[in-house]
Symmetry: C2
Subunit: 261 residues, 2 copies
DNA sequence: CCATGTGAATATATTCACAGCC
DNA sequence: GGCTGTGAATATATTCACATGG
């Protein structure tokens, strides 16, 4: 499906750099652009301006243009971006031209929900296998898949070409599971367990910790409360309160910006 | 220099001391330090060096020291940090000295799992109420709580002093729910729906999108594949990298750094 | 000594502002 | 005219390296 190569133009000989090396911050935003573009496509738009796409994705237009410029320009000056073309480009860069097989380990509370989450299926992934270490859970059917024992992981990973694993076990089991995944050839891990994983070089780990997200919000609640509690105290001995506006702020993942202007 | 601020102990009641204004990147890491500190405390440590805490939290020690220095110094040169004191300080800064009430909206697939997630309870939060718009779900008991209709949100939020809301609805319902939460006085929202929310200034939104996390990993998979496939193998489909990559890789994915020794 | 805390140096990210092209 | 693409300017974050003080 990938006839398109975002290669540097001209006839520079030899190697085609399959991927431009993108800033991490840009990589983290491309999926959001992709989602917004699909939404726009469904509502009949076939082109969109940087302003329009930016607001659909919750960022400002300068950032969006800079991000897209790293992919090599696919917009038209005076017009905007071709939605279908941009979708194709971003999907190519994100490696979504193939549907990637994912192994999910841990079918407890959260694992069950993840196994049933439709969003994985519609956005480039296929949950290829479910695993658990608890024999009492092995054999259970979830969403058309049978839970297997973790010992079957190596064989299954090889057969299904699984390169991405999701850990949804309790924290105490997570490191062992990570080791097993790596041993089975997995090179990317999404970790929902509240702990740090140690993995060899070349393996990528992303972590999602639900309580941490709330704790970050708690900080902002605390700060807002402390600001409103001191309306305009005249020289109370505490240093002047920085006048920071707005909700949001930035974060490595997830904090939405307040669109000021 | 180090002005000691006993959290909530002294001073006239009602007066909230101003918070140091922390870099967002630091705020996002404090919860991880807190988790690591609790773990250390449980295993009997009562002091820890920046090196030790950093490795337990998956960051490097310089970053950790810089982060902690923003809270005002609570370490002892030549010794390290007092675990209990640091826990207390971070919990104070994050606003975790009170247990915050949270409303969860949407008890479908994911909402169910979140309602049952023990980590919220053990790390500073109390799920105070569950809501759904579907009358067929109202009345259901989950984890000791009864699902209420979303229309009861305003009354309930006021009564329970709910300032934080979690949205676990389908994307099409999320904006409406957000509006309802804001109208009910909620000023921080954790959004699991794959869409951008528009909220008034002063309301903080954090977003967790499970598919986006996988897509970011997919990018790194794609990049790793293109690097290993590059040298002189043109167009050779997908190779299932069997071996760990050798040297020179750019390590981390931005969330977790290479850990291990 | 030793490990913290911190200025200085570097790296990364965002925003501005406008040239260039449709 | 309008909008993209981009260098330059600014802001934020990370890392270095060492003075400081228990």
């Amino acid at each position: 499906m990938s006839q398109h190569r975002p290669a540097g133009a001209s006839g520079s000989p030899g190697v085609v750099p399959a991927l431009p090396d993108l800033p991490e911050a840009t990589v983290a935003r491309l999926p959001e652009y992709l989602r917004a573009l699909h939404h726009l496509a469904e509502s009949g738009h076939d082109t969109v301006s940087s302003e329009g796409l930016a607001s659909a994705a919750g960022v400002n237009s300068a950032k969006l243009r800079k991000d897209l410029s790293h992919l090599g320009s696919y917009g038209t000056r005076g017009v905007g971006y071709d939605v279908a073309l941009l979708v194709e480009q971003i999907e190519y860069v994100l490696g979504l031209t193939q549907r990637r097989a994912v192994a999910l380990v841990g079918v407890g509370n959260l694992g069950h929900a993840l196994a049933g989450y439709a969003g994985f299926g519609t956005r480039g992934f296929r949950i290829a296998a479910l695993f658990d270490a608890d024999p009492g859970r092995v054999g259970e059917q979830i969403n058309g898949l049978t839970v297997r024992h973790i010992d079957e992981l190596p064989a299954c990973a090889a057969q299904e070409s699984i390169a991405i694993g999701v850990i949804a076990t309790p924290a105490r089991a997570a490191q062992t599971v990570a080791d097993q995944l790596v041993a089975a050839g997995v090179t990317s891990i999404l970790n929902f367990a509240p702990c740090v994983l140690s993995v060899p070089e070349g393996v990528d780990v992303r972590k999602v910790d639900l309580a941490i997200e709330l704790q970050i919000l708690s900080f902002h609640e605390h700060r807002k409360a402390s600001l409103t509690a001191l309306p305009d105290t005249p020289g109370a001995g505490i240093a002047a309160i920085p006048n920071r506006l707005g909700g949001g702020g930035l974060g490595s993942s997830g904090t939405q910006e307040a669109v000021g202007s």
